[in-house]
Amino acid sequence: MNSDVVIDLKNIYKRFYEGEPNELEILHGIDLKVHKGEFVSIVGASGSGKSTLMNIIGALDRPSDGSYILNGTDICAAGDNELSHIRNKQIGFVFQTYNLIPRNSALKNVELPMMYARTAGLSRKKRAKELLELVGMGERMTHTPDELSGGQKQRVAIARALANDPSIILADEPTGALDSHTGRMIMDLFHKLHEEEGITIVLITHSNELAEETERVLTLMDGNIISERRGNNYVTGQYKTRIQ
């Protein structure tokens, strides 16, 4: 195994209602490797098993069968508390609906994963400020989610995802709730983080257009990966090209 493999899924099955008459198999033996610094997208229509796969990659759920090694840790063998710690340190979630904590300032939201990592208050604040500046939200750190636009909320959510220096950013339809212009800006931000910070990103989307921008596109259909190829519109340094 290459040392730069971050995600290593082997023969992953996921079944619901196991042993019951209405048993349902959603994933039928998925194999997937993601390397450090990659920008990978997983596309598929609804019902293809995208969300189930994302939950497994995000250590929110365990596979019914198969093995999943995330950055050297066996996820299948981990207990609930261990999974919490893995999510906390290794994975940065970005959701379609932002999922910021209401009534907490942008700063507090970004501090949250560090709070659960028991990082001391001062260094927490310092890091959160840096991250908000990185995503271009340095001016609105004290605003609560109610006072931010959709794009701004998603930037805060991305800053929050980066808080504990995770192995991967797991973005689930990050532009799904945004208009095309704002969605474009969020995609640019991902490209920037990928190119300039070398961050590993797994993008889950139903939009082929967005998927084609990424280094590698995996197409999921009915619980199987049916194709794996380079994104048609992937250009190295495309963030830089675009902003020039």
């Binding site: 508390n81 919490s84 999922n99 009534r103």
Partner: protein
Amino acid sequence: MLLDNIRLAFSELKANKMRSILTMLGIVIGIAAVIAIMTLGDGLANSTMETFGGAQANQIEIDVIQKTMANVTDRDNYDNAARQIKDSDKFNVKMFEDIQAHFGDKLEGMRMFESFGKIESGDNKMELMSVNPCGFEIEEESKNISIIAGRSFNVDDYSNGGKVMLIGKKSAEKLYGSAENALGSLYEGQVGGKYLTYTIVGVYETKENGAAMSMLTGGRSSYETAYIPFKSYLEKPLEDMSFEWIVPVAKNGVDVEKLQKDICAYLNDKYYADNDTYKAASMTMGNILEQVNSITGLIKGVLAAIAAISLLVGGIGVMNIMVVSITERTREIGTRKALGATNNDIRGQFLIEAIIICLIGSAIGILLGCGLGAGVGAVIGINGAASVKSIAVSVLFSMAFGLFFGYYPANKAAKLNPIEALRYE
């Protein structure tokens, strides 16, 4: 982390101000009720103790009762006796002397007093009461009497039945202008149609032991008492007088219970062995005190139980609100879990929120309860200061309530499946 959770809890409470206040209200009322009731209950018990306890615990009251009657307290129930009580059934002075002679080394004295009802002079009314030295001493102690002008009775007054009188300060001021002016004055008053004349030799001031006592004794007369020596006003010669009860007073350090039994046994052996219906029986103030205490204790217990129920209802209110709040925040809980919060982190967050609601509620409740206790205490004249014990108990209780009523909802939150919680609309 703890600090973060506390901060978080406060920001949640602030975000839902009205709801937080209403939730706390239940705890506030519960705690205030518990504190006020504990305070007033203690105050009442203490004031009863003071009244009975001090001088009077040494008093032994011996009554003439029916031989078949078990309950001594029912002294007026002669109607049901086999025959009416006669003077020869009652105690007389000879028995007094006998007791004095026989138990003298253990006795401080025998309390003798007689109330004659109101003595009136013009529009001034006083309660007229004759006392012997021992009787007056007990009055002095139990009512906190101090002589502010003139003198108290002396040996001569008692042994000769001097026509001298002690009156209260208020009456002195009303009748003569001041306590000093009253001294030496002749007081002429009417008791039950008879005119009596006494020389005022002293004026006293009392510090009554509070309204609690007069509540317990069924509202003692609000008139001041005028004291005269026992022998100075007798309706018949002392030798012919009979008494339904006598009150020997034990010396300090004497086993009152034993002495009481001994005196009763002595009297029954010597004087009542042949009596067909009546006998001597007794109760010490200690016995009465025990009874009173058990009654006040019972009242206190019942009231505290009612207050505790209101606290319980308040606690259930907290639980209810926590359940609602957790349902509302399901998505938030899912997000927190996705970001790496462990089950314990989530449980801690909501437990602390519940505890803080209870603590703030109880802090306000303590203030309110102390105020209520002090206010009501001042009105009915007992000590209304809340004890440290009652405050400590209620703080502990509210913490425990927070834990108890917070645990179920917090645990529910902690056990949420993050995937379902994230998907919750």
